[in-house]
Symmetry: C2
Subunit: 245 residues, 2 copies
């Protein structure tokens, strides 16, 4: 494949497998969820947010090229910020607080679905253990993020009276960060994936990452959209102590 053909194949994977296609997102954006279900989404998604700077550090940790390390370091800054009130993780906790979740409980992650945590850890391990090329390629879901974020912000503001612009501040920052990051990562992949086996590995890495995001939404849908399926010990918005038995 030429670099353009490889890029087209990557975009095709996103078109079919990116979690924008998942029914949970349709419900979320269309205002079809109640507040407890949106809380469950925010609480679980925090596990993903918390895994991101660890996977980014794992990538930097195995990279010999100072230029790529410097470029990737911006992601650490974006997520961890320059102090405790700054950065993507802090903004996600603001979102959780805006939904009347206890930010300390969210930060502990122990009320999240086990399936969410397994998926997030699988992503961290993938980046730590596969080739650098595959690690970079697994970030390429960001190519497809701006569209879903715009949809989400507009849909959630329109459809939920418990959501405000301040609550969704996390996503505003991502609208500029994600395109910058994904265009760097795409340029790296276009340049370094030349042999057929490398190109296949890159496609598989993006598929894997789409599977991670999809599995997280499957778990949310199963536990919080279909009645009666919250696993023991997980967050239960209707539970007497916020916990499933």
């Amino acid at each position: 494949m030429t670099a353009d053909e490889l890029e087209a194949a990557l975009r095709e994977i996103g078109r079919v497998r990116y979690h924008a296609n998942h029914p949970f997102h349709a419900l979320l954006h269309a205002g079809k969820l109640d507040k407890g279900q949106v809380q469950a989404w925010a609480l679980n998604r925090y596990c993903y947010q918390a895994a991101i700077p660890r996977k980014d550090a794992a990538l930097i940790a195995r990279c010999e090229d100072p230029a790529l390390r410097r470029a990737w370091r911006r992601r650490l800054v974006d997520h961890d910020g320059s102090d405790a009130e700054d950065g993507g993780l802090a903004r996600w906790l603001t979102l959780a607080e805006g939904l009347q979740l206890d930010p300390e409980a969210v930060r502990r992650q122990n009320l999240a679905l086990p399936a969410t945590r397994f998926a997030c850890e699988a992503y961290v391990r993938f980046v730590a253990e596969r080739s650098l090329l595959e690690a970079v390629a697994s970030s390429l879901t960001e190519l497809f993020a701006p569209e879903i974020i715009s949809e989400r912000v507009a849909g959630m503001l329109r459809n939920y009276d418990f959501i405000s612009e301040a609550t969704l501040a996390y996503f505003n920052a991502r609208l500029t960060q994600a395109p910058r990051d994904s265009s760097d990562a795409l340029a790296y992949v276009r340049c370094h994936a030349r042999a057929p086996a490398e190109q296949q590995a890159v496609l598989d890495a993006l598929t894997f990452k789409c599977d991670v995001l999809w599995a997280m939404l499957d778990a949310l849908y199963h536990a919080y959209v279909i009645p009666g399926h919250i696993p023991p010990g997980a967050f239960d918005p209707a539970g007497p102590d916020g916990l499933a038995p």
Copy 2:
């Protein structure tokens, strides 16, 4: 806690959280699934079977005590056998073949649900990375296995005309192996978990392992019991090529 109190607390976790309580098992044993759904169960559960000898080797790899290493080595023998036709993995492939699955496709694991693979890998990582005591304790779900196995074998033979005793040979071996293994592991935990923090770690390890098994059945239930939720690329018994789009 005394050793007896610790054992009682472990058994209570199993009573509440072991996957014998999961609705998928009720459907499986009662004959409420069709052949495609039982195929999906066998195909996904193979990932767990395939992870077990790796997690057992990870435990042996970090154990300084030759007696415990020897005791644990029996598990490798049980699962990997003494040649390609022998052992638990081979028996699981016999089960899959008895269900008219292609054993080579099952062995590749690429049609399994991503959530299944993430849960199985989380278990292998847990055993490789936590303390030896937690690694041993995470095996204690086997305390509860004989009951579910007896139920399963009787229920499946009674309720499915596509299931024979030969197909279920895997479980016969487990009926003697599991009690032997779990009584060794329980003795180890009773003896070595003395400090409150150690005892809590042991309880948490068993809870974690129950979460792994539960998450696997949640994923199966969501994909194969509720219509329309098979993730892209996973096994689809009704798909034209056996694959979800």
